[in-house]
Symmetry: C2
Subunit: 410 residues, 2 copies
């Protein structure tokens, strides 16, 4: 008789994968895939050969010859980049390289949320937020307090109300999590006064701040306020970033910038014998020479894709779809009217090869199921146009939205 592992796995774990992977959908608007045509392949090949020829022998040692914080030349590049793009003063000693920013999130959660008290920890997040963070906090059974987001970023007036209420109840949140620069999913950039207000409140209530800036380099005009980490003088901000959005998501390299009182704890929890060394070496070698020029090209190409997506939505959905064209990033956050239910729409669309993220995966606001998140970075322009057309047809068939007039050419 064969052994069935499902009989011994505890029931509180996430459900097992239902089916084997069967390839990407025809029209792929989900996840955070990037633009393959912007990938600087020749220069990546050259950088990879150079660094391997020069230093490849160090691959015979765990963690190269840079120790557990990660490949030193990549941390040195990050010091320059963080100063230039985010206004951050740092040294390589302040940086921990991670296997993607998701590992950073997991380590920080392990350090700050694994209380052995019976009272659950509380975390404050923006009401619409990164699905990977929402699902992690839910799985950790954390008490999630949400704060509104508007076109200026997190509503810090609302944050103040939430912090005061929690304080009255004797609760100090474990941290305030925010994506201040090119927020996921809305794409908004938090203004500098809001950032300063947030830091003032965090100091007043003595709460750490977790700043996730994975998208912060993807801004069409390059204009942004300094990061929270740069504006803070109290060393309470944990700054996390990634190369997934600027270079390539399949290279799993992210980073954490924080005070040694936290980094030293993350290091003792990072029991993976190091993050992938070759990917760190390639990124250091390539980025030190080409990061700025690549970013300019990538942002130009992404903006063309965003404009193509917006035009397609206007054409296919008319006034049924509402959105704010974002100042950067790879997502569009679109509101569809009643009676559309976007979770049902996503299922119907999937069956037709159109993949979209329904709002409830990315938002805890009460009308989340009116929203969809569309990633425009991966599909070619023509696929974006055809995909939006297909989505509009499915949405019309399922919900009567958009309404096609008699003279619409379908």
């Amino acid at each position: 008789m064969t052994f069935d592992f499902s009989t011994v796995v505890p029931k509180h774990l996430p459900a097992p994968a239902g089916a084997r992977w069967s390839g990407f959908p025809k029209y792929n608007f989900v996840g955070g895939h990037n633009d393959p045509d912007s990938l600087p392949l020749d220069k990546l090949v050259e950088a990879c050969s150079n660094v391997l020829q020069r230093e490849g022998k160090t691959l015979a040692t765990y963690a190269l010859e840079s120790g557990p914080q990660g490949y030193l030349p990549l941390r040195e590049f990050l010091v320059e980049k963080l100063k230039k793009y985010s206004g951050i003063d740092s040294s390589p000693d302040d940086i921990l390289l991670n296997s993607g920013s998701l590992q950073a999130i997991d380590l920080i959660n392990e350090a700050l949320l694994s209380s052995d008290s019976t009272k659950p920890q509380t975390v404050i997040i923006e009401k619409s937020n990164y699905g990977g963070v929402i699902s992690r906090l839910q799985r950790l059974k954390v008490n999630i307090e949400t704060v509104d987001v508007d076109e200026h970023g997190m509503d810090t007036g609302h944050l103040e109300t939430v912090l005061a209420r929690l304080s009255d109840a004797g609760t100090t949140p474990a941290y305030i999590y925010t994506i201040p620069t090119v927020h996921n999913p809305t794409g908004v950039i938090m203004t500098q006064p809001r950032r300063e207000h947030l830091l003032l409140l965090a100091t007043q209530y003595n709460v750490p701040v977790f700043e996730d800036e994975c998208y912060a380099d993807l801004i069409w005009d390059g204009q942004r306020p300094p990061s929270l980490y740069a504006l803070d003088s109290t060393r309470r901000v944990i700054h996390v970033g990634s190369f997934s959005k600027t270079i390539a998501p399949a290279l799993r390299v992210g980073y954490t910038v924080a005070d040694w009182s936290l980094l030293s704890q993350l290091l003792s929890l990072k029991t993976d014998a190091g993050s992938g060394a070759l990917e760190q070496m390639l990124l250091a070698e390539y980025c030190a020479q080409h990061f700025d020029e690549h970013l300019a090209t990538l942002n130009r190409n992404l903006k063309v894709k965003l404009d193509t997506l917006c035009a397609a939505i206007d054409r296919e959905f008319g006034t049924s779809a509402e959105y704010q064209s974002p100042p950067g990033g790879i997502f569009l956050w679109v509101r569809l009217p009643d009676p559309v239910n976007t979770a049902a729409l996503a299922r119907a669309a999937e069956a037709k090869g159109v993949a979209i993220n329904p709002g409830p995966e990315w938002s805890l606001q009460s009308d989340a199921s009116q929203y969809i998140r569309l990633c425009f970075a991966n599909p070619p322009l023509e696929t974006i146009e055809k995909g939006v057309r297909a989505l509009a047809e499915i949405c019309h068939r399922e919900f009567g939205v958009p309404v096609f007039s008699a003279n619409t050419q379908r």
Copy 2:
């Protein structure tokens, strides 16, 4: 005032890292570092360029175009390698690629040990064992039952006694963990009759078997019995391996071979958005062409290093040091006599630039502090000789062992 994260981190977590990394020791006999001179650098550079030129655009998508189980060509290579070296019949669908075998261990533990019952889970392991497994099980507060190891591998007679005792107490272990082929730290290879006995017992008591074969390809004469996975007809064996020991430890790529009832659960727990893609691509491209020839060279070089280490120990420690020269691997497990305490020896040696693993990190047997584990793969031959000489001098100074006779030339 600056924020001190140590005031909010729960006390039950591992202690934070004490100091920043300050470089490798002069005589480095710890960990699982490998031989840099055996690293096939030119062919790795060539393989990396070829695969990047051909398929690099897929780095723009998470998990390449192979889905969450990992880069398909590497799983295809593993099907061939597992057949040839371990006697395993498998398909790419049976394989999950991991960020090192440590991630595999963590995922398997999450699936099988995170009971929400108040009764702790029980795991059976060999009494001397991989330090990373001992420390993980201790941190998970699992009940660890140990089984003796002799020159034929795990003592399955003893295993039977342990299983019967647990069964009488109403306990079914979560799994039996074993390193059957080139055991860590002893280097022994479990005989085929023992393997068959182990599987018989596992079936009788309905216990899963976790087979960790990270060292199994490093055998001087290539002679070994089939893996437990190959000998089992009940699909209860989880087989884990790695490229750390055969190619390079800094490339973080391991793998799990198991029934879909387990793999599907590991997939839902693997929320890292994929393991490093470039490292998987490089390994697939290189190994498909060069794995066998590289392994032959590596094993030849490792054997020379082992012989050098054994000769140095004989010369410097004389009859004070006892060991069995292993049939493969990268470690020597050495017994030193009373009054040596190897934890104290390791501290004294560290101060003099000689790094060794003291027995208690790698063993739960009562005389563990008589043992040291020496990794011979990384240091050059001359460094091995000098390091052993320095270690003998420190050991003599601290414990009077070895006894130097009046006419010994020091």
